[in-house]
């Protein structure tokens, strides 16, 4: 290619044409590449990217749904909601450095009067469980504090205040043990089918009725969809989904009966159950000492928790009606009677002589109070609570067949097993038997051999209290509800109910009906009886008559207590020795109105002494409320022994 110095070029040379073509080809290919890429991105994958863009900008702010209310059988509100202000911290807005966070917690701690260390610990724990959701610092704060936080917002980065619904218990201590608590869903629960549809940070029932009926009580959270920019600033409201309150739960509980029951316990350690014998619906179920569940609505302080669980305070948190099992004393005679009748040891009219004591081997078992009742048949034996009559049955049963006659019938009547009430955490209790005792004794022997405890340590039960193998004497004790037997008031109520309801072993029930918020029924909660006791009707009648006699005939153990009471009551006292210097466990189980009882009332006091002295008068107070009769002056405590 010739060119002059000026670089003049005559025309397009083939070489230049080729090179320009190459450049043009490169441009063409690049354009083609870009077009194909754009086609792929925008036309073929447009929907995907549009969804991603929306994910970017839309934040859903959860709007907590209030839980359903819990009402008693008459619609009186037992548990409702109030709104509270919760102070929370949002993880992504917190200072990134540890020192900055520490300063924030210090400032926050001063405002909320919480130690900074506790805030930090609690926040860290919550953020570890649910990394991206806000952590609650304090649940229920007064509004002045909130104003202060708002006014000094720049000093509290990441701190927000949210309105939350908190459970409120207008009757405070009444029914405290039943309702249970509500708390944020845990990681373990999240995987459970029970909690399908529950989001992180949502609150669900964690115990009691709240747990049992959580499915109905929890509402459906609403959502407020907002648009945010890249810095997370709010840039407009999109759409709201209103929260839906949970269903209302109607309990079979009768608030007035419950109040009367808790008043009758009067703060002494004990429990009571009021149940319809026919369908197992519970009208009252209480434990003493009680507590105010409103304190659970706030973040519970460790000191409060300690107070609720300490032995010195009588462990108010424990629901003694279903979680504490005790020896039942003579109230157990109903079961021994059923077993002996069904096992053919006696008929309802078999007369035995009660000479005041019974010698079994080297041991002599005496009537309580040293009474001598003479010749007695079953009805009389129940009425005057002849121990000797039942001692003998216990002795005979031990030699009868496999020796487990009473144990077997106790099991059939619901002792030593869960009643199936709609409350979590029920205790099973214990039916003493040779295998139980012998196994315990073997353990005791090994323990003594290995640890060589001092006599004091043995007395403290370091190796357990089963310091000898099973003997006939154990069965004799068992027959009158003493010794190792452990049953709770609800189990006794179920066993007694079976005498009055045609032999049904009912499944106790607190939940009655699911309703909408205006009280319209949506679903009845039914609990078919678990099984039939198998005790023959004539035997049941004989036992019921004996119980009636005990509460009405002269010489009956609780006749004085129910003297002048308008409603005919059938009932049995019980006094269980607990060994050592401890006061006796006092029991009373009543069926009313005789002759076709509708309700069973079981009352126990841990340190009540004779059943007729404390438990029976308490039962009378409850029955008076239940049947709406006046008490006719002060209730007399009976003084007759069992």
């Amino acid at each position: 290619m010739y060119m002059d110095d000026d670089g003049r070029r005559p025309s397009l040379t083939p070489q230049l044409a080729l090179r320009v073509a190459v450049v043009g080809g490169v441009a063409l290919m690049a354009f083609a590449l870009i077009f194909f890429r754009l086609w792929y991105l925008q036309v073929l994958s447009g929907d995907k990217y549009r969804a991603e863009a929306n994910d970017n900008r839309v934040r859903e702010i959860k709007v907590q749904a209030p839980r359903g209310e819990i009402v008693d059988r008459n619609g009186k509100v037992l548990v409702n909601n109030r709104t509270g202000l919760a102070v929370r911290v949002t993880p992504d807005k917190l200072p990134k450095d540890g020192a900055g966070r520490h300063r924030l917690y210090n400032r926050l701690g001063r405002v909320l009067s919480l130690p900074a260390g506790r805030i930090q610990k609690s926040v860290d724990r919550q953020l570890k469980a649910l990394p991206y959701s806000p952590a609650t610092v304090k649940q229920d704060v007064p509004s002045q504090l909130v104003y202060y936080l708002f006014e000094h917002q720049e000093e509290f980065p990441g701190v927000t205040v949210e309105q939350v619904f908190l459970r409120e218990y207008p009757h405070h201590q009444i029914g405290a043990h039943l309702f249970g608590t509500v708390g944020e869903i845990t990681k373990e629960q999240k995987g459970d089918d029970r909690y399908r549809g529950v989001g992180l940070g949502d609150r669900v029932g964690q115990s009691g009725i709240e747990y049992q009926y959580d499915r109905f009580l929890r509402g459906r959270n609403g959502a407020s969809r907002v648009q945010v920019d890249a810095l997370g600033n709010l840039r407009g409201q999109l759409r709201n989904v209103r929260p839906q309150q949970g269903r209302q739960l109607r309990l079979s509980l009768d608030l007035d009966v419950q109040k009367a029951g808790q008043a009758a316990l009067g703060g002494a350690a004990g429990a009571f159950v009021v149940m319809n014998v026919n369908d197992g619906s519970v009208l009252g179920l209480g434990s003493s000492p009680s507590f105010d569940p409103n304190q659970f609505s706030k973040v519970l302080r460790p000191s409060d928790y300690k107070r609720l669980t300490s032995k010195e305070n009588g462990e108010p948190i424990v629901n003694r009606a279903i979680q504490s099992a005790y020896p039942t004393g003579s109230t157990f005679k109903l079961i021994t009677a059923s077993a002996s009748l069904m096992g053919g040891l006696i008929t309802p009219d078999t007369v035995q002589y009660d000479g005041g004591s019974l010698k079994v081997g080297a041991q002599t078992f005496k009537n309580a109070g040293g009474a001598v009742n003479g010749p007695v048949a079953l009805r009389k034996a129940l009425s005057v609570s002849s121990d000797v009559f039942f001692y003998r049955l216990g002795q005979e049963a031990n030699g009868h067949g496999d020796g487990l006659l009473i144990q077997k019938w106790a099991h059939r009547l619901g002792i030593g097993r869960k009643t199936g009430i709609d409350l979590p955490g029920e205790a099973k209790g214990l039916i003493p038997s040779p295998s139980y005792r012998n196994k315990g004794f073997r353990h005791y022997q090994r323990c003594v051999k290995k640890l060589k405890p001092t006599p004091q340590q043995i007395a403290e039960g370091k190796c357990g209290f089963l310091d000898r193998p099973w003997s006939v004497g154990d069965n004799v004790n068992f027959s009158v509800g003493q010794g190792d037997l452990a049953a709770d008031p609800l189990q006794m109520a179920v066993a007694y109910a079976s005498v009055a309801n045609g032999g049904k072993i009912v499944r106790p029930r607190l939940g009655q009906r699911i309703e909408d918020s205006s009280g319209r029924p949506l679903q009845e909660l039914e609990a078919p009886p678990k099984r039939n006791s198998g005790v023959k009707p004539e035997f049941r009648q004989a036992i019921l008559d004996g119980l009636r006699s005990a509460a009405s005939d002269p010489g009956g153990t609780s006749a004085t207590v129910f003297k002048g009471f308008k409603i005919p009551v059938a009932g049995k006292t019980g006094t269980a020795q607990k060994g050592g210097a401890r006061a006796d466990q006092s029991w009373y189980v009543a069926l009313a109105p005789y002759p076709s009882p509708k309700y069973v009332v079981a009352v126990t006091f841990e340190q009540g002494g004779f059943g007729a002295e404390t438990a029976a008068p308490a039962a009378r107070k409850i029955l008076a409320q239940l049947f709406g009769v006046s008490q006719n002056g002060p209730v007399q405590g009976g003084s007759a022994p069992n």
């Binding site: 070029r9 044409a17 190459v22 690049a30 870009i34 077009f35 863009a53």
Partner: protein, 398 residues
């Protein structure tokens, strides 16, 4: 060889009747492409930046229109000048190029961590932008001077070193994007001038070794030649999800924006742009805004205008009255192609983020004005060619 007299005078040209009169010797299609792109830019920036500065929704668009107007005037002025004169000032132009870049080090203002611009009363002059045109003019002149010895290795290496020197200075600002544009310009000028294929093969080998050295070997020995963020940008596009927080974030958000635009765009619903998820949406990532707001249709329109622009560049390159014009046009073509493909490729995830503007579309005085200056040179080449052809009694085909 033609022996016809080439020296045609302006007077004769003006006296002549013909289509050239209507446009004053300008290439109407090139002008159309430029004005079309400027219009797209103004409209896009209006849409994208209305909420960026609270209380002043027109802040960016007013400035962009002003830059466009200044650029347009400058383009018309330059088109009236015979570019061939500039060839004589090659040393001065090259000196000015180096000088401007060095001055930035002394007096430059810092923008987003880089020292790139000289503060003028009206705007920040990014000297690396102006440098592109200066480099094109100077390098083309050097190549024309050594045309007889073009096949020598020395020529190729000299030209490449002449480009590499300012490129390195610019990369150190740090402005990696412009540095790479400088190298593209040099390669294109050599390529169109007719440098041997073997030289390009050798340059390719050297480039490969250099890339390996800068990106793999040197860091392995503890020497960081690139700033870490430049490195991230260059590598992030390979897998944007891997580094979503920093450089990958920009690219991911850009992809989402372009993709979300779909066939016809989201208009007012263009949330990636309007809610600031898309960074730099009026400058480097303006094409993502086009993609999101106006969809495939809008993007296709803009790309078509660029296709038109590049076609006209190549056309003007071929009709130039002299080699100098051809090479200047080649440099400008390379500059446009490089910036368009790198910038658009970056927004759609097929190119690394190197921080080059999209000519005429991106907001920014230096970029817009320098682009118009380049267009002015092209128009000058076109006008001169037309005049020459007219003088030869030939009508230039469009």
């Amino acid at each position: 060889m033609h022996a016809a007299p080439y020296g045609t005078s302006v007077t004769r040209f003006r006296d002549a009747a013909g289509p050239a009169r209507l446009t004053g010797g300008l290439d109407p299609l090139l002008l159309l492409a430029a004005l079309g792109l400027m219009g797209c830019s103004v409209y896009t920036i209006t849409q994208a930046t209305q909420a960026d500065i609270p209380g002043d929704p027109h802040f960016f668009v007013i400035r962009q229109v002003a830059f466009g107007a200044i650029g347009l005037v400058l383009m018309l002025l330059i088109s009236r000048v015979d570019y061939s004169r500039l060839r004589e000032w090659k040393a001065g132009l090259y000196g000015l190029l180096i000088g401007l870049i060095v001055v930035v080090y002394a007096t430059g203002s810092v923008a987003r961590g880089s020292k790139r611009a000289i503060a003028l009363p009206f705007f920040q002059l990014q000297t690396s932008e102006l440098g592109k045109v200066l480099l094109i003019l100077a390098l083309s002149a050097f190549v024309v001077d050594r045309m007889r010895r073009l096949q020598e290795k020395e020529t190729t290496s000299r030209i490449m070193l002449l480009a590499l020197f300012p490129a390195m200075l610019v990369v150190a600002q740090p402005d990696l994007g412009s540095g790479l544009v400088y190298m593209s310009i040099a390669l294109a000028i050599l390529f169109v001038a007719g440098t041997k294929w073997t030289h390009f093969a050798a340059l390719g080998a050297i480039a490969a070794v250099a890339i390996v050295t800068v990106m793999v070997a040197a860091p392995a020995m503890g020497v960081q030649l690139l700033k870490p963020y430049q490195m991230d940008r260059l590598t992030a596009f390979v897998n944007p999800q891997e580094n979503p927080a920093e450089q990958g974030y920009q690219q991911s958000q850009s992809l989402v924006a372009v993709g979300a635009g779909g066939k016809t765009g989201r208009g007012d619903q263009a949330t990636q742009t309007r809610l600031d998820f898309l960074p730099e949406h009026h400058t480097d990532f303006v094409f993502s805004v086009v993609g999101e707001e106006f969809g495939f249709m809008g993007a296709a329109l803009v790309l078509s205008l660029y296709a038109l622009l590049i076609w006209r560049c190549l056309r003007i390159l071929t009709v130039s009255k002299n080699l100098y014009g051809t090479l200047v046009a080649a440099g400008i073509t390379a500059m446009f192609m490089h910036q368009v493909f790198i910038n658009v490729g970056m927004t759609i995830g097929i190119m690394p983020i190197t921080g080059v503007t999209l000519p005429l579309m991106s907001y920014g005085g230096s970029s817009v004005i320098v682009t118009f200056m380049a267009l002015g040179l092209l128009q000058s080449i076109h006008a001169q060619a037309r005049e020459t052809a007219f003088g030869k009694g030939r009508e230039l085909a469009l």
